[in-house]
C-alpha cells in the first residue's frame, strides 16, 4: 500500500480532534518504501530541523492547564507536571525514589526514569531508514523510550490512565474526571459540542491539547549557552567546554555525536538536538534498588516489546534498545539512563568511557550487561567507540576528558534553569 506522508500524518494524528488541523505539518509527501511489520520504512531520514507548524495558542493554553492539573488523577494530587516539572527541565519524581517516579497511589512506583519533555516535539513517529551504504534498516523516532507512541497526543494518554502513574484507568473515567473538573466549556469551544460525552473524543481532545502545549516554544526555547555559541558567539563556551565539544565529536574519543547528533557549525539549533532519534543497547547496569527489579526475572526490554507489537521480524534482536534521548538540559537531571541507575552526569559519561575497559566498576564481579537476560546480552553495542575496547586496555577518554565533556554538557541547559534565584 502506498501511503503519502499527509495520509500517514492523518493516521498518526488520529488522536487529534476530527476538525483539527494537523499540528505537525508535513512539507512534502513522504512515501514508505515498504513496511517492516506495520512500521514504515522511508527513503530518507526525517530530520529534526523540519518545518513544524506552530500549535494553536488556545490549545497551548488549555494544554498547559491540563498539564498541571492535579485533579486528573486517582486519587487526586498528581498531574503530568508531578513527574515532568517545568522547573526541573520537565522531569521529576513525584516523591518516587532511586530513579523512578511515584504514582498517584504512593505505593506504586514507575518502571523508568521519567524523561525530560523539553524538545520532545521534534521526535518523529517510529519509522525505519536504510542508507544505501548501511547493512540493514534501522529504527528511528517514536515517543516513549521504546518508541511505542507515534505522537505526543498518543503518548500523553498513557500516563493519564496507567495504574502506576495518574491511575484514571479508563477513557470513560478520564472523560468523567475532565467533566467533573470543569473542562466542558473550554473543550466544547475548542473541540465541538458534546466532546466530553464521548470518551474517545474526550481523550483525543485531551491529547491534542497536551500535544499543543508540548509543541510550544515554552519547552523548546533554544536559549542555552550552546545556542549562543551556535549563533556566532564562540566566547559563550569556556576553553574547557570547547575542548569538551571536540572530545564529544571526536570518533576516536567520546564519539558521542555519532548518536547524540550535533551540527556545531549550523546556526539552526534544531540541527543540534543531541539525538538522532535512533536506538541503542548500551547495557547499562541493573538498578537493583528499583522495586520492580526485586523480581530477578523482571527486565525492562525496551524496543523489542514495540517490535513484537508491530510485527517486526526477529523482534528479540531489539531487546535492550532504548531511543537515544536529547542531551539538552541533561545537566539539570538528577538521575540518568532509562533505569535511573546513575546519580551524576559525570558517572554517566564515565560509564561510556570506561564500560568496556573497566567493567568491574559498573558490574562488580557479576556478569556485564546484567540488566538484560543472559541470552539477550549479545544485543548490546560493543562495537562503537569508546565502548569497543577490551577490558584492561587504555580507555579512549581520560578523567580530564570526561570532565571536559561534562562541562560541555552543562552548556546545553536552557536559560530558565541557569538563572540565579
Amino acid at each position: 500500500m502506498s501511503l503519502t506522508r499527509s495520509a500517514l500524518a492523518s493516521l498518526l494524528l488520529a488522536a487529534c480532534a476530527a476538525r483539527a488541523p494537523a499540528q505537525t505539518q508535513p512539507t512534502e509527501p513522504l512515501r514508505p518504501v515498504e513496511h517492516i511489520g506495520s512500521t514504515p520504512r522511508y527513503a530518507a531520514i526525517i530530520p529534526a530541523a523540519r518545518p513544524l507548524e506552530a500549535p494553536l495558542p488556545a490549545r497551548v493554553a488549555l494544554g498547559r492547564q491540563l498539564f498541571t492539573d492535579a485533579r486528573l488523577s486517582q486519587p487526586r494530587g498528581t498531574s503530568c507536571a508531578s513527574c515532568h516539572d517545568a522547573a526541573k527541565a520537565f522531569t521529576s519524581f513525584n516523591g518516587g525514589r532511586d530513579g523512578v517516579a511515584g504514582g498517584s497511589l504512593r505505593s506504586r512506583l514507575g518502571f523508568r526514569n521519567p524523561p525530560s519533555l523539553t524538545y520532545a516535539k521534534f521526535i518523529p513517529p517510529l519509522y525505519f531508514y536504510q542508507d544505501d551504504d548501511a547493512q540493514q534498516p534501522a529504527p528511528f523516532g517514536g515517543l516513549m523510550l521504546d518508541g511505542r507512541a507515534d505522537t505526543l497526543a498518543a503518548q500523553v494518554r498513557e500516563p493519564l490512565l496507567a495504574r502506576h502513574e495518574m491511575n484514571l484507568g479508563t477513557e470513560t473515567t478520564a472523560a468523567a474526571r475532565l467533566e467533573a473538573s470543569g473542562y466542558r466549556e473550554v473543550f466544547e469551544r475548542l473541540y465541538g459540542s458534546g466532546v466530553l460525552n464521548d470518551p474517545k473524543r474526550a481523550m483525543q481532545a485531551f491529547g491534542t491539547s497536551l500535544e499543543a502545549y508540548l509543541q510550544s516554544d515554552e519547552l523548546s526555547p533554544f536559549d542555552s549557552r550552546f545556542d549562543e555559541f551556535l549563533r556566532g558567539k564562540p566566547q559563550a563556551l569556556t576553553p574547557q567546554e570547547t575542548r569538551g565539544l571536540a572530545i564529544f565529536r571526536n570518533p576516536n574519543q567520546g564519539n558521542c555525536a555519532s548518536c547524540h547528533s550535533v551540527s556545531h557549525t549550523s546556526s539552526n539549533p534544531a540541527r543540534s538536538l543531541f539525538t538522532d532519534f535512533g536506538y541503542e543497547a548500551l547495557g547499562v547496569p541493573r538498578n537493583t534498588r528499583l522495586p520492580a527489579n526485586a523480581d530477578r526475572r523482571h527486565f525492562d526490554l525496551g524496543l523489542c516489546r514495540t517490535a513484537a507489537a508491530r510485527h517486526w521480524p526477529e523482534a528479540d534482536t531489539w531487546c535492550g534498545y532504548f531511543r537515544t534521548p536529547s542531551l539538552r538540559n541533561v545537566a539539570v537531571r538528577t538521575r540518568f539512563m532509562h533505569n535511573g541507575v546513575f546519580t551524576t552526569l559525570r558517572e554517566t559519561v564515565r560509564f561510556y568511557a570506561m564500560r568496556s575497559t573497566r567493567p568491574q566498576e559498573f558490574y562488580g564481579n557479576g556478569p556485564v550487561f546484567d540488566d538484560l537476560p543472559a541470552k539477550l546480552r549479545g544485543n548490546v553495542n560493543t562495537q562503537s567507540s569508546p565502548m569497543n575496547r577490551k577490558a584492561g586496555s587504555q580507555p579512549a577518554m581520560t578523567e580530564e576528558d570526561i570532565d571536559a565533556v561534562v562541562a560541555f554538557l552543562g552548556t546545553l541547559t536552557d536559560k530558565r534553569y541557569t538563572a540565579k534565584p
Binding site: N268, R271, N379, N381
Partner: protein
C-alpha cells in the same frame, strides 16, 4: 597524442631537458601561441593533471582545463598537444540517487584531455607541472578508499567538509604524499557531495554539490593535488561512481577506458552497459600484479542468478582467473566491495562480505571463491581498516575504507568465534580499527609489507604475507 606543427616542436628542440623547458621556451622566443606561452609557467587554465595506469600497463596522462583547447604536453622534451577526451558540456539532468528536486544537471565547464605515454618515457610536463611516471619496480604503494565528504540529504548527513578533523582527506593525501609513494591505488568512492549543503551549516557552506566538475574538484582533485603530483594512480570505482551517482565524472576523468557516449553515464538507457567494465591487471614490478575489478553496481542485497549483472560478473571473474594464471607473479585483487571481509554492525555480529559477488564467484570456484592465483584482496566500501587472514585456503584480505568519509562502527573485539565473511572461509586472525587513515605496501626484499597508518602517518600495524596468509604484528582492535 596530437603533435604540434613542426615549428612548435622546433622551439622545444632548442631546450635541453624538460626540467628547464619552461625557461627555455621563453628564451627560444618567437611564439605567440598561447598554449606554448602558457607552458612557461603554471598554466592557470589547467585545473588538474595526473597520471594513471590502465590496462596492459598503459601510462595515461590526463588533464582538466578550463580552456577550449587541450594543453601542451612535453614528453621527454618533445612538445605536443594532449588529445581531447571529453569536451566541456552541461549534461541534462538525469535520474540520480536523489530525488529530482535535489538533483541538477551535471556541469562540466572543463575540457578533459589525455595522452598515452610510452612505457620508456622518462619525463612528462603538462601545464607547468612535472607529472610522475610509473616506476618499473615500485617499492611504496599507497592504498586508500572512501575519501569524499558526505553531503546527503536523505541521510541528513552533512559532513563539515571545511573542517580537516571531521573530513581529513586532505590531511591523509598530504601525509601520503610526504611518504613519497611510487604508486597510489584508490579503491573507489571518491565523490560524496550529492546534495546541497543547507545554508545554515557553515561546515559545508557554499560547497559545490551534484555530479559536475566543481564537486569533483572539491571532493577529489583539490584535496588530492599533492598526491596526484606525487605518484601515478591506479583507480577502480565504488558504488558512489555508478551512473546514477558520480558516474559522469568517473567516465570523464578517471575511467582508464576511452571515453565514449555509451559509457558516459549521460543517458540512463546505457546504464546497464556503463555500470560495468572489464577487469585488467597492473604490474607492480616483475613479480607482482594487481587485478582491478569494477563492482560499482553490485549492490548490497545479493545478486540473483537471473540478474543481468550475474553473467557479466561471472565472465569477468573468468578473466580475473586468466590474469591471475600468470605463475610468475603474485596476484593481488582489488575491488570496492569487500568479498571476504566484514561489514560491522552495532549490537550484532558483523555482516559477511558481499553476497552478490560471493554467489557469482562460487559458481567458478566453489570453495575458494577466488581463482588460485589470487593471494591478497584489497577493498574499500566499509569505512574502517581490516586485515584478515584465514586458516582455510582463502586469500588474506585488507579493507582500507577509512580515507575520509564518516567512519563506520568498529568490529567486535574479541572477535566472536565462528563468524565468517563467507561460508567455508575460516578466520584465523583479524586486525582492525575505524580511525581515519590509509594503507601502504612497502617492498622489503622479495616481499611486500602491508602497513596501516593513521591520517597523520602514525604506524598502526605491519602485516607480513606468506602466500595467501598474512601475519600482523597486532591483532584485534587497533587503538589510534
Amino acid at each position: 597524442m596530437k603533435l604540434l606543427p613542426s615549428n612548435r616542436r622546433a622551439q622545444v628542440m632548442c631546450s635541453g631537458a624538460a626540467a628547464v623547458l619552461a625557461i627555455t621556451l621563453v628564451s627560444c622566443g618567437g611564439s605567440n601561441d598561447p598554449v606554448v606561452a602558457a607552458s612557461s609557467t603554471t598554466d592557470p587554465l589547467v585545473q588538474a593533471a595526473w597520471t594513471e595506469i590502465g590496462a596492459n600497463g598503459q601510462t595515461i596522462v590526463r588533464a582538466v582545463t578550463t580552456g577550449n583547447r587541450c594543453p601542451s604536453i612535453a614528453i621527454d622534451a618533445q612538445l605536443g598537444t594532449m588529445g581531447l577526451r571529453a569536451p566541456a558540456a552541461t549534461v541534462a539532468q538525469r535520474p540520480t540517487a536523489s530525488a529530482a528536486a535535489d538533483s541538477k544537471p551535471s556541469a562540466f565547464p572543463v575540457t578533459t584531455c589525455e595522452t598515452t605515454v610510452a612505457a620508456n618515457a622518462t619525463s612528462v610536463f603538462v601545464g607547468g607541472r612535472t607529472l610522475p611516471l610509473p616506476k618499473a619496480s615500485p617499492s611504496r604503494i599507497a592504498i586508500l578508499a572512501d575519501t569524499g565528504c558526505r553531503m546527503k540529504k536523505a541521510d541528513n548527513a552533512f559532513q563539515p567538509c571545511l573542517d580537516a578533523t571531521a573530513w581529513p582527506f586532505a590531511t591523509i593525501a598530504a601525509t601520503v604524499a610526504g611518504m613519497k609513494p611510487d604508486l597510489v591505488v584508490h579503491i573507489g568512492d571518491y565523490h560524496y557531495r550529492e546534495n546541497a549543503c543547507p545554508a545554515d551549516i557553515a561546515g559545508c557552506k557554499d560547497s559545490p554539490w551534484g555530479y559536475g566538475w566543481d564537486t569533483w574538484a572539491a571532493d577529489l582533485f583539490t584535496p588530492a593535488a599533492p598526491l596526484l603530483a606525487a605518484a601515478p594512480w591506479v583507480v577502480t570505482r565504488g558504488n558512489h561512481e555508478e551512473c546514477a551517482r558520480a558516474g559522469q565524472g568517473w567516465s570523464r576523468f578517471l575511467d582508464v577506458r576511452p571515453f565514449t557516449p555509451a559509457m558516459s553515464c549521460d543517458d540512463p538507457a546505457n546504464d546497464n552497459l556503463a555500470n560495468v567494465s572489464e577487469p585488467y591487471a597492473v604490474a607492480l614490478g616483475a613479480d607482482t600484479q594487481l587485478v582491478l575489478f569494477d563492482s560499482a553496481k553490485v549492490g548490497t542485497a545479493g545478486l540473483a542468478a537471473t540478474d543481468y549483472k550475474f553473467p557479466i560478473y561471472q565472465d569477468q571473474f573468468r578473466k580475473v582467473a586468466a590474469l591471475a594464471a600468470d605463475s610468475g607473479k603474485t596476484t593481488l585483487f582489488a575491488n570496492h566491495h569487500p568479498i571476504l571481509a566484514f561489514a560491522p554492525l552495532a549490537g550484532a555480529n558483523p555482516n559477511p562480505g558481499n553476497t552478490g559477488l560471493q554467489a557469482v564467484m562460487k559458481t567458478l570456484n566453489p570453495v575458494t571463491y577466488y581463482p588460485e592465483g589470487v593471494k591478497i584482496a584489497l577493498h574499500g566500501h566499509v569505512h574502517d581498516f581490516q586485515a584478515i587472514s584465514f586458516s582455510t585456503n582463502h586469500p588474506a584480505t585488507f579493507v582500507a575504507g577509512n580515507g575520509g568519509d564518516n567512519v563506520d562502527v568498529n568490529l567486535p573485539d574479541p572477535f566472536p568465534a565462528g563468524v565468517t565473511p563467507a561460508p567455508g572461509a575460516v578466520l584465523d586472525k583479524i586486525t582492525h580499527t575505524n580511525t581515519f587513515g590509509f594503507m601502504m605496501m612497502e617492498r622489503s626484499g622479495s616481499q611486500w609489507l602491508y602497513k596501516a597508518y593513521t591520517k597523520t602517518g602514525a604506524l598502526l600495524t605491519t602485516c607480513v604475507p606468506t602466500g595467501s596468509k598474512i601475519a600482523c604484528d597486532k591483532t584485534g582492535y587497533l587503538a589510534p
